[in-house]
């Protein structure tokens, strides 16, 4: 697994929580929003989103609710719970600190030229 893919995988929970915190969404909508907002960076297989959603629902971070749609199959909308909101705040703070620290360390990387001593 590439480092980028590894990092994306680790960020699934916080990304889903942050989207669903804005408004209840269903799986396809979440996949498309992630793709759109990341400008295609999060090009994961859409099917891997559902195990993550179900895991978060089981952990009590999300609450699923089926809604009948006039045309086509019904959709399961995911709502963020109070526990999910608290987790989002915590995880977002963790990610902010993490990325700040990494950036501080990587500050001088631009000056590094491969092949030179």
């Amino acid at each position: 697994m590439s480092p980028a893919r590894d990092m994306r995988k680790g960020s699934t929970t916080v990304l889903i929580l942050s989207l669903v915190a804005e408004r209840p969404m269903y799986g396809y909508q979440i996949a498309k929003e992630l793709e759109r907002r990341s400008e295609g960076y999060f090009d994961f297989k859409e099917g891997t989103l559902y195990p993550a959603l179900h895991r978060m629902e089981k952990e009590g971070l999300l609450r699923g609710e089926w809604q009948v749609v006039a045309e086509g199959p019904s959709r399961k909308y995911y709502h963020i719970t109070e526990k999910g909101k608290r987790a989002l705040v915590d995880v977002a703070a963790e990610w902010t600190t993490f990325s700040r620290k990494i950036l501080a360390i990587l500050e001088n990387v631009q000056g590094v030229k491969p092949g030179t001593m």
Binding site: K45, E46, G47, P51, K58, P73, K76
Partner: protein, 154 residues
């Protein structure tokens, strides 16, 4: 049979989760694939191509099933364990606690029907009151509840 239906059939074959969860997963995946294919058709793909592409974007059916199994297998185990509660509680009262009370001389007469009736009903409620998403074990719960009720009368 459409490509989406074939994909769903394969997914069902590999899921190995309880019937209610399986139904929900298939409904959710079906909804996703249909909407994805419809969007692709709007972009100009024909029906066959749009379904093929929607499935490709969704991912390998075995991998999706494997990840789903991993999420839901613990629920099934928890629920089956919880299903043992009615019979475990009923039998422990019948075979251990009440004989113990009787041997200590605190118990008179034959309290079986009323006491076991009340205890069994309480025990039957335990999974529902304590287990989150206990629906995973409906079948096992019903089975052990019947055993517990049968024990009341013996």
């Amino acid at each position: 049979m459409t490509q989406i239906q074939t994909y769903l059939r394969e997914l069902r074959r590999h899921l190995s989760v309880d019937a209610i969860t399986e139904d929900e997963i298939l409904r959710e995946v079906h909804s996703h694939l249909e909407e994805s294919a419809t969007a692709l058709q709007a972009e100009g793909f024909n029906v066959q191509e749009s379904q093929r592409l929607a499935i490709k974007r969704f991912g390998d059916v075995r991998e999706v099933a494997r990840l789903m199994r991993r999420v839901h297998s613990s629920s099934v185990n928890e629920a089956i364990l919880a299903s043992y509660l009615p019979v475990a509680l009923t039998l422990s009262f019948k075979w251990i606690i009440l004989p113990l009370l009787a041997s200590m001389g605190h118990w008179q007469g034959n309290p079986t029907p009323i006491i076991f009736g009340a205890l069994a009903i309480l025990a039957l409620l335990v999974p529902g009151l304590t287990m989150h998403r206990w629906r995973y074990g409906y079948a096992a719960w019903a089975f052990f509840s019947v055993i517990a009720i049968a024990e009341i009368g013996t």
